[in-house]
Symmetry: C2
Subunit: 517 residues, 2 copies
């Protein structure tokens, strides 16, 4: 049987650019996993691993022009955005190298023997070890930062786990190029290049999550695809952790005082956040609670003006475009829903030929007709440049909508200056209320930037994430490790991380006391 | 329909002692979960929660005589063991109260805004919040330390999560008594008593893991029961974490040098470890790799002498006894298996009437006949006072057995003095080899004590555990929390844990730097 070719496609035209690879056969998936598994011992060497992560960042930076060109050709995300995304990606690789060097992610805890306790306590020394081969499922919308060289790969490699990436079909050429650079960095750092591999094809992705030597998975994508892989991971004879980021509405609550104070600013800010990257961000604000009345109307007017000015854009692929057009039509046709700026197919082209979409937004009363299940659709993410304004008459109506929401990556409050200062209203209670809904809570900002930082949390209640971990930030490395405790193991037999003399200078906690070096 | 009664049964006689409760109806399960859910806000108060955990420990200690009598009557574990188990249980409650007071489990991380970075970094403040109602599935073999007032309950309450315990049918009276004391402690600490509830019945347990307001589960028990609940947790519309401890062989490797040096000591130690608590410990050594030849023979002889002297004992219930008798018979009948001391039904009684079992052990050559799948049974846990000695001719044979093992809670090495000191042999390599198999690694000890300590890890690769967390020790609290990050949230609106002035004096990490107070 001939291998199924994998093509790079220009979403601006729908034209095939080049055949990049073939879909991986079962044998090829198995081979990639086995080769990755065999590289674990080499990757366990800490200085080599640190050098490798830094070399990978350097090589990617040195190849920026080629990477950005490849990614732009098959994603239409544009060189400015892609240049920024590459910088974020290489910063991330270096940040994880620094984490490995610093070592607190190993969470070293040492309890000295205490014969005086009843029962006597033996000596215990605990740290964390890598899980093994990690399967990474790349995202459509971040061909770099959440794909082959992205956060899942960087954090897994930093943890000491080899990675097999299932490339996203929207950017196979970029994936192949980045994989070749990562593998070259491995080779040049003295590691087997098989510490990172890429496979293409839907079936390859399914086989990957079922492979007995795959120990964990990271995923960024849709609820449907992510849930299917989550289910497969849980149904294995030996279940594995599946850290998936699946979908999020990212609600925004605008208080009446905020609308009174900053209606135009909020409307314009919202327009920018919902159209950024053609609305193809997992943290795009998809539902905005706006007060009824003239202040809310001013906000909507500002949004109308700004969104209407937005130029038509190209989505990542043609299926996504079709889904956007159908999804916005279905939502717009619901009773009570209006479309002050109608989202949909781009102008001047027939639906069959067209390649662009136009941004728009919908409005709906927050007081939803009882029992109307169709409104559930408005509480589902619609990928692309559209958002929904739910107009509410008071805190009870806003609260009723919030209580219907599934889990989210982010929740944002737009507050007045007095509310933000805690001098007026019940903003602290509102912060607590939306904390229950999301993994990140913002005040007077927009959620579309996700900083790579030690304290970041990019996750949230299901379906925002399938686990309670983060896929961005310092603690993302924790996903790929498991603790092990050594009881009464002589110093000479301990790994260096746990030896009494602390040869690696790791932060550690003695007898449950504070962390010290 | 009449409620199904729940009886306390004396395993020494099979006689019903008293009717303790009735199996919970669907309405009762729902009511318990909703009442627990409604108590979250009260439990969120940190000083109250600390006081409650300490009051619970004090009340349990003050009721020691009644608790031990109730538990002994329905488990036959004996007052000495149960008194120790209660002390461990109340120590655990107090240790988690101390953890809440100390606060490092919140893993507070603060990144200050950095406008100089590209892109500029916003202020981020991250800590962990409780998940919500936790379902706890009590263990048969620890009516206190892994049941109603046990580690899952204590760590979940400490995290701020209300608990609904599914009582184990082997000790319903003990469960009811402990629940009443915990609820009294809650009341006396100013909390709703519904922060802890107990339900009885198999169906109640299934309904609990499916309840939309249950946010996580902890389980200690069999692979069959635990896997069914794990599958139900993963199949929910909103999946929840299921931290199950399911089963473990706890392999022991005796090196030739260790056997040469301490054959008798090891044989006697093994006899003690495998018969402790009638072999009903999840960390009972169930497979022991012993060298062929005269030193290994001396070890086996010492084991024979010690095990043969062990008095018959009563298992926790009659189903368990029947399983032990059948399980040891099936294993003993496998080709190549011998039984130097035959385990099975206790003496002087017919199988139908008897209530005791006798301890014993089996031997088998490590070089297993190729393709004989029946030997897989020897690699499955057999609950009760039995272990299997696999006699090996060299490191290759020992390694081949180790590579066939599923995940374990513990792995133990018996080494010579020179090996333990790293002066001879390849003991460090052996430590690394068994680290891949287990959550805890011991040298020259026995795994049957699991100290409650900050650095403890009681878990391991599946089926030892269904997640990478621990059910014993300081980090067990991490299972019931999820991180949340606040971005650019004004100080006045932040929870006290994250406010700039650090009013609670929590340890925290600034800009990814070292932890400080």
């Amino acid at each position: 049987m001939a291998a199924t070719p994998v093509w790079s496609v220009d979403p601006r035209t729908g034209k095939q650019l080049e055949q990049v690879a073939a879909e991986a056969t079962s044998q090829e998936v198995d081979g990639a996993v086995r080769a990755a598994h065999a590289s674990r011992a080499a990757l366990a060497d800490r200085p080599t691993r640190i050098a490798f992560l830094r070399a990978a960042a350097d090589l990617l930076d040195a190849s920026a022009a080629a990477i950005v060109a490849a990614a732009d050709a098959e994603t239409a995300l544009g060189p400015v955005r892609l240049t920024g995304e590459l910088a974020r990606t290489t910063y991330q690789l270096r940040a994880f190298a620094d984490s490995v060097e610093e070592g607190s992610y190993l969470d070293v805890r040492i309890d000295r023997a205490d014969p005086g306790l009843a029962p006597p306590r033996p000596e215990l020394r605990r740290y964390k070890i890598p899980l093994g081969v990690v399967a990474v499922y790349a995202a459509s919308n971040f061909p770099l930062a959440f794909s082959v060289p992205g956060g899942d790969t960087a954090s897994a490699l930093a943890a000491g786990c080899p990675v097999v990436v299932k490339a996203h079909p929207d950017h196979p050429a970029t994936s192949a190029l980045c994989a070749s650079l990562l593998r070259r960095a491995a080779r040049e750092s003295g590691l087997p290049e098989d510490v990172v591999a890429v496979v293409h094809g839907f079936e390859a992705g399914v086989e990957l999550v079922r492979h007995p030597l795959v120990a964990a998975a990271g995923f960024t994508g849709s609820i449907r695809g992510g849930r299917a892989l989550f289910d497969a991971a849980a149904a294995r004879p030996v279940p594995i952790p599946f850290h998936g980021e699946l979908g999020s509405l990212n609600p925004v609550v605008v208080t009446p005082a905020a609308a009174a104070e900053r209606a135009e600013e909020i409307g314009e800010g919202l327009a920018g956040a919902m159209t950024l990257g053609q609305g193809q961000f997992c943290v795009k604000p998809g539902l905005v609670l706006v007060p009824e009345g003239p202040d809310g109307d001013r906000l909507a007017d500002a949004l109308t003006t700004a969104v209407a000015k937005t130029a038509p854009g190209v989505l990542l692929d043609h299926r996504m475009r079709a889904d956007f057009i159908r999804g916005t039509q279905e939502r717009g046709a619901l009773p009570g829903v209006a479309a002050p700026v109608a989202p949909g197919a781009g102008p001047g082209e027939s639906a069959a030929e067209g390649h662009t979409v136009t941004a728009g937004y919908l409005t709906v009363p927050a007081r939803l007709p009882a029992g109307d299940e169709a409104y559930g659709l408005l509480l589902e993410e619609c990928f692309g440049p559209v958002t929904v304004l739910a107009r509410y008459a008071g805190p009870d109506e806003a609260g009723a909508v919030l209580r219907r929401l599934p889990g989210n990556l982010s929740a944002t409050l737009q507050l007045s200056a007095a509310e933000a200062a805690g001098r007026e209203g019940s903003a602290a209670a509102l912060v607590a209320e939306v904390t229950a809904l999301a993994g990140r809570v913002l005040v007077n900002g927009w959620p579309t930037g996700v900083a790579v930082a030690p304290a970041q949390h990019h996750g949230g209640p299901y379906p925002a994430a399938t686990s309670h971990s983060t896929s961005v930030g310092g603690t993302a490395i924790e996903r790929w490790l498991r603790p092990v405790a050594y009881q009464s193991v002589p110093d000479a037999l301990l790994p260096p991380e746990l030896q009494e003399a602390n040869p690696l200078g790791l932060p550690r906690r003695l007898d449950g006391g504070p962390v010290s070096q």
